[in-house]
């Protein structure tokens, strides 16, 4: 079976140690995590992990089964790229002088749809949100001019299909 990119979404209680517990599931199976993001979700007090892996469908299914088994995990899903709307964010720190010396820089900023977050005497910071390929393209365009610092976030994703966490939580409350 071919490996492909899967986005795993985990809805969980917001507990110390759960990140360790979840990451251990990947470690035990020798699976590399491409990116990881933890944030609050649409439900009060419920956290959302967004984890990207490149694996076979079967491996992804079993990993998600093990994640969902953890006591404090409410529900875990996995989706292909086609089934999600996803983005990453990146920050580029660049020498301010380049803004004036290199006309091309201004074109890159315009064409990439990125924003200038801050400008100081020494440097300015560009922020770009989009697909990995767009961020990569912008990186390769800026690289010849010198990037002082670069950072890219983990993927965040919203699924096209419904994720009925609120309904599930109600069921949990009824079942007890």
């Amino acid at each position: 079976m071919e490996k492909e990119t899967f986005t795993i979404s985990v809805y969980s209680e917001n507990n110390v140690g759960l990140l360790n517990r979840i990451s251990g599931i990947f470690l035990k199976r020798h699976v590399n995590v491409e990116s990881l993001n933890v944030s609050k979700s649409e439900i009060d007090g419920v956290s959302k992990f967004t984890i990207v892996i490149i694996e076979t469908y079967e491996a992804a299914r079993k990993i998600v089964g093990q994640i969902e088994k953890q006591i404090e995990v409410i529900k875990a899903y996995f989706h292909t790229n086609d089934e999600t709307i996803y983005q990453e964010s990146a920050l580029f720190k660049i020498k301010s002088s380049l803004l004036f010396d290199e006309r091309q820089i201004q074109n890159i900023i315009k064409e990439s749809n990125s924003q200038i977050v801050t400008v100081s005497r020494d440097f300015f910071v560009l922020s770009k949100t989009g697909r990995r390929s767009e961020v990569d393209e912008m990186h390769s365009q800026l690289e010849p001019f010198g990037i002082m610092q670069f950072v890219r976030s983990g993927r965040i994703a919203i699924t096209k299909a419904e994720m009925p966490i609120s309904t599930l939580l109600e069921e949990f409350n009824l079942n007890k």
């Binding site: 969980s12 209680e13 917001n14 507990n15 110390v16 140690g17 360790n20 517990r21 251990g24 470690l27 035990k28 007090g45 299914r61 079993k62 089964g65 093990q66 969902e68 088994k69 006591i71 404090e72 995990v73 409410i74 939580l169 949990f172 409350n173 079942n175 007890k176």
Partner: protein
């Protein structure tokens, strides 16, 4: 408390009293029905031990000689009683010494709560004396764990710990408690936990799955049941027996399923897996419907997966959704507690006999009996076999004893040849294969079932891994019967070296001490047998003893366990020699 989502009931009659965290821990244990725990004191858990001293009329604490022994004793207790076993240790090395037993309980789904002391809250992360990150260390091998840093958390977390350990698919839970939380006073009240948001212990059975499974079973010409510990944990022994008898289906067991069904039942066809019986293994690849009940298709059971029951429709009765389609793809998955699901399916099952199919098992048994079982149980060659020791134990125990085995060749002989009439009678380390498990586990088993005979069968290798627990047996006069089958080798590894490594016996030959003298050093009655003519009498004398008894049997040094499915081979490729 953001971290705690335990659902509360019984809020009425809530009484509070101002006590220390350490005393609160004792009250929590008592509220959970604990009257026995195993452990080892040390700096960071001393306030709790001080309270144990005050409550010793209500709560018995057994000092094991090593923390690992405490976990295995708690496991042995849990396995024979079905209740939660409790082990306690101090921080640092005390806590890390629990890890093997916790991992064992996790893979064998044994309900256990471990309580560890921890350094003061303000010292966490400072590399303080005897500080270790036991939460981090134990995370992959616990069902749940939690670090308590203030006394007020104790009641809710302890209630949750016991609930999680015993509910659904059971498992070990570790609660780490900083020393300040043990010393602080707070207003204590206790409510049992009845549910945790985000945790569904038992999935609801789907009637459509039950119907599909019933239809497959009713249409089957060669149905075959393989049951595991899920039957014992779900207390579904009667339901299993009813299904087997009504549908006339031959039933085999995994090593942890042993004793869920009378070993002499005519439809009990024996053990599956690497050293299981010939018929159940071979015929796994000839059945048309494989009915797996409360088992998880471990690799020691299935052999090579791409040649495992490929011809059969697979029905999987299972409580843990993560086990479905993990190793073997099932055609019908019946989720739920085995007692409930088997009860639901039983009325939908047609009566049947499957005589021709059952005869195939009998034929295969005949082959195995002539080539393997007979020479093991009634050997004509000199040199005692492990099998004949088991035969004598069966005779003397009348199939009523709890058998606690360690890990290795003797374990395979014990599980192949021990006879059982009663469930929860076979205690062994199945999934983790922990050498050193048996002696402490036998202590827990005996204390959990004082009215029953508990015989532990151990190899000379595993015995020496936890031999210090003889001190517990001596100190408390716990009347377990200890049988060491001494072949002066690490027998199972030696067997593999013989078969797969051209007999290069790297580090498997043991020069052993005088085991009888060691037992006598602990004031335990002890005997050694090396001749066949003395075996029966020695076993009978041991079984008749009211006190602990140690019996060393000098067995054939280079005997092998057969049948055997070599690692990576198919169940069809099972070897008789």
């Amino acid at each position: 408390m953001e971290t705690l989502k335990a659902v509360k009931t019984e809020t009425k009659n809530k009484k509070t009293m101002r006590i220390s965290g350490a005393e609160a821990i004792i009250h929590c244990l008592l509220a959970e029905g604990v009257d026995l725990l195993y452990g080892y004191p040390g700096g960071a858990i001393m306030p709790v031990y001080d309270e144990l001293y005050k409550f010793q009329d209500k709560l018995t604490h057994i000092l094991t000689r090593h923390e690992q022994g405490a976990t295995h004793a708690a496991q042995g207790y849990a396995r024979v009683t079905g209740k939660v076993g409790v082990a306690m240790a101090t921080s640092g090395p005390g806590a890390t010494n629990l890890v093997t037993g916790i991992a064992d309980a996790q893979i064998d789904s044994t309900p256990m709560v471990c309580i560890t002391g921890q350094v003061f809250r303000h010292l966490l992360g400072s590399d303080a004396f005897q500080e270790t990150d036991i939460i981090g260390i134990s995370t992959p091998v616990t069902k749940w764990n939690y670090q308590i840093t203030k006394a007020s958390e104790i009641p809710e977390i302890m209630a949750k710990a016991f609930f999680l350990a015993r509910s659904g698919r059971p498992g070990p839970v570790l609660v780490d408690i900083t020393k300040n939380a043990q010393l602080e006073e707070f207003d204590f009240s206790y409510e049992k936990c009845t549910g945790v948001r985000s945790y569904k212990p038992v999935p609801k059975p789907e009637i459509s799955a039950i119907d599909e499974a019933a239809e497959l079973i009713n249409k089957a010409k060669k149905p075959f049941i393989v049951f595991g510990q899920g039957v014992i944990l779900g207390e579904a022994e009667e339901e299993l027996k009813a299904l087997v008898e009504k549908a006339g289906i031959p039933a085999a067991w995994t090593i942890l399923g042993l004793s869920a069904m009378d070993t002499d039942h005519p439809l009990n066809v024996g053990m599956v897996g690497m050293h299981g019986n010939y018929g159940p293994n071979i015929l796994t690849n000839e059945c048309d419907v494989l009915i797996a009940i409360g088992m998880r298709f471990d690799d020691r059971v299935t052999g090579r997966l791409d040649d495992y029951a490929k011809q059969a429709k697979v029905i999987h009765f299972e409580i843990d959704p993560a086990e479905i389609n993990k190793n073997v793809m099932s055609d019908v998955a019946v989720l739920g507690n085995s007692k409930e699901t088997l009860s639901l399916i039983l009325p939908k099952i047609n009566e049947n006999k499957h005589e021709a199919w059952h005869n195939e098992f009998k034929e295969k048994y005949k082959i195995e009996f002539d080539q393997i079982i007979q020479p093991q149980l009634n050997p004509s060659k000199p040199g005692l076999t492990m099998g004949e020791v088991l035969k004598e134990i069966n005779i003397a125990s009348e199939h009523k004893a709890v058998i606690v085995s360690d890990v290795g060749q003797h374990q395979m002989f014990a599980c192949r040849y021990a006879k059982f009439k009663q469930s929860k009678s076979n205690v062994t380390s199945g999934g983790l294969g922990t050498m050193g498990f048996a002696l402490p586990a036998a202590i827990g088993a005996k204390m959990g079932a004082m009215e029953r005979e508990v015989v532990t069968i151990i190899g000379d290798g595993g015995y020496q891994m936890t031999i210090q627990e003889l001190g517990v047996i001596f100190q408390h006069n716990i009347p377990v019967k200890i049988v060491v089958l001494n072949n002066e080798h690490l027998g199972m590894v030696r067997q593999w070296q013989e078969l797969f490594f051209d007999s290069r016996y790297a580090s498997t030959v043991m020069t052993n001490p005088d085991f009888v003298k060691i037992a006598e050093g602990y004031h335990i009655k002890a005997k050694r047998v090396s001749e066949r003519e003395n075996l029966k009498e020695a076993v009978q004398e041991m079984m008749a003893s009211k006190d602990p008894y140690f019996l060393e049997v000098r067995v054939e040094k280079e005997d092998n366990v057969f049948p055997m499915i070599p690692a990576g081979a198919s169940v069809s490729e099972i070897r008789l020699k």
